[in-house]
């Protein structure tokens, strides 16, 4: 869903995978967000030798839905473990759907990220409706849910726990397992689900 934390998770996942695999790529196919995109962290990723697959440099600030052709190539390339950062909502997922020919041929896992403190994502009914709409637009089956429930800098233990509870109910109703809870590295949290600590990249320096 829009603003659920997919980009932060994509960045962190790519960095995590880089520790265990030699060839990791991050494909930014988010055509929805004008600011705070994974391509804005391109130089940092490239320093880490993670391949950033995104629009050509000269179109970085263009308000155009550009998907570079090499996205398909990286998805197909068996030497690469590729993380795809999809844009929010059905409009963002439509881009994923357009890559179906590539995606169907490879081993993959599809993660659906939820923050229950985001508009239109606060109840299990809303979340399930989003899962249906987005998997249809993305022409793909969701394999896992991720609990990324947070209220930014004001996140408390109970907020994350509430997210876990709602997602667990969603999981029971949809039969889609919750893979993990992602938590800011500065917060101590232990719940019923595995915890993936994340570093926040998309913030202003003031």
């Amino acid at each position: 869903m829009f603003g659920s934390g997919k980009t932060e998770l994509s960045l962190n996942t790519a960095i995590f995978l880089k520790n265990i695999r030699s060839h990791v790529a991050l494909a930014d196919i988010d055509i929805i967000s004008p600011y705070f995109r994974s391509r804005d962290e391109r130089s940092f990723l490239e320093e880490m030798k993670i391949k950033m697959v995104t629009v050509p440099e000269r179109y970085m600030h263009a308000d155009l839905p550009i998907i570079p052709p090499e996205v398909g190539g990286y998805i197909s390339n068996p030497e690469f473990l590729t993380v795809i950062d999809v844009g929010g909502n059905e409009d963002g997922a439509t881009v994923l759907g357009s890559l179906k020919n590539f995606i169907d041929k490879v081993k993959k896992s599809v993660f659906f990220v939820v923050n229950v403190f985001r508009p239109f994502s606060t109840t299990k009914e809303e979340i399930i409706s989003n899962i249906t709409k987005i998997s249809m637009a993305g022409r793909i089956k969701i394999d896992y849910l991720v609990n990324n429930s947070n209220v930014g800098s004001e996140t408390k233990f109970d907020d994350i726990k509430m997210g876990e509870e709602i997602l667990t109910e969603v999981s029971e109703m949809t039969n889609i397992p919750v893979a993990f809870t992602s938590v800011d590295e500065n917060i101590d949290y232990e719940g019923k689900l595995p915890v993936f600590k994340i570093k926040r990249f998309l913030k202003n320096n003031w």
């Binding site: 705070f36 600030h61 004001e154 320096n205």
Partner: protein, 349 residues
């Protein structure tokens, strides 16, 4: 319960909670999420969302809807706001209350989609024709923007004036925890005595911006001026931050004010006493208070994401009682705290 929201979403939800049920708009980055939010949300609250074919159509839809005395609003970004100016002038002349959200981006012309504060002149000095004013509010956090929506509608109806909430793309796009305001039910809102609601059983009313007789038109204009005077006397708002002992006071609004607050911490750690004067109403501008402040501080630095627009009002307020300096970047470039600190050091050292 706090929610994690984008500025555009928070403003939209707050407007709905303030009783707005009529939204007309056309998408433009970096405010499109506001339009999109309204498209989803208005049907849920039995309101009307209408996507127009252009901003010119939007403002005229707003004109018509505002005549009925309901709470109406639109949102846009700089080039779209330019397109609305003719209608804004007509609405101001017809003394209609309505809310405009302008999420500013780089310009002039097509510009880019990055944040900017270059529509200050357009908003505060009148981008349209004629002797009119609109109230211009400039929040610097998402929470402030959220809290401001009800106040914006109240001001619009109290004075029968247009209100613009002027934010830059950064406030539109960034995400922060937001405590959403309480609900104002539309039915609690009293219908104004000028609203065009059908003249069945009562005398017809007229909402118009013109009169063919110049003396009558002058009377209308004098009435507008009277209103603007009242607003200038009663509705000026600003924030003062650490100005008591400041050797230099920075004047900034919106995102820039926010960055300056961070700069103040850095500067004070290195022994430079910096304060911030933050106009919350850009029109009416807080001339009087800034004039007083300028008596007690040697240097005033205006920082803007423009090449110098608000600084002209700062100079009008200061009237050479202290030295007015300026630092700005525009076209979508956001000055960093380090740059502003350098600008401060150049003045005080």
């Amino acid at each position: 319960m706090k929610m994690l929201m984008k500025g555009t979403e928070a403003i939209a939800e707050a407007a709905i909670r303030a009783g707005c049920r009529l939204y007309f708009g056309y998408p433009i980055t970096p405010q499109s999420e506001l339009t999109e939010y309204m498209a989803k949300r208005m049907p849920e609250v039995k309101g009307t969302f209408l996507q127009s074919e252009s901003e010119v159509a939007t403002v005229n839809m707003l004109y018509g809807a505002a005549c009925t005395g309901r709470k109406v609003m639109t949102s846009t970004s700089s080039p779209g706001f330019s397109l609305m100016q003719e209608g804004i002038s007509y609405m101001a002349g017809a003394e209609l209350p309505a809310i405009f959200i302008n999420v500013m981006r780089g310009g002039p012309g097509l510009g880019d989609i990055q944040p900017s504060q270059s529509d200050y002149f357009q908003s505060t000095k009148g981008g349209g024709h004629g002797d009119y004013r609109m109230i211009v509010l400039a929040p610097h956090t998402l929470q402030e923007a959220t809290n401001m929506m009800k106040e914006a509608f109240d001001l619009a109806f109290k004075y029968r004036m247009l209100v613009t909430i002027l934010v830059d793309g950064m406030i539109g796009q960034m995400m922060e925890p937001v405590e959403l305001p309480e609900w104002t039910k539309p039915e609690e809102f009293e219908e104004p005595n000028w609203a065009l609601t059908g003249a069945n059983g009562r005398k017809p009313r007229k909402v118009t911006s013109f009169d063919l007789d110049p003396y009558e038109l002058e009377k209308m204009n004098l009435r507008y001026q009277e209103t603007y005077k009242k607003v200038s006397q009663n509705e000026v708002k600003y924030e003062e931050f650490k100005i008591e002992d400041a050797e230099i006071t920075v004047v900034a609004y919106g995102t820039m004010a926010r960055i300056v607050k961070t700069v103040i911490d850095y500067a004070r750690k290195s022994g430079i006493k910096v304060g911030l004067f933050r106009p919350i109403t850009l029109w009416p501008f807080p001339y009087e208070r800034l004039s007083e402040i300028s008596k007690n501080v040697k240097n005033i630095l205006t920082v803007e994401m423009s090449y110098g627009q608000m600084v002209e009002d700062v100079k009008l307020a200061v009237e050479e009682k202290s030295d007015v300096h300026f630092y700005g970047r525009s076209a979508g470039v956001v000055p960093t705290p380090a740059e502003i600190l350098d600008a401060i050091k150049k003045i005080v050292r």
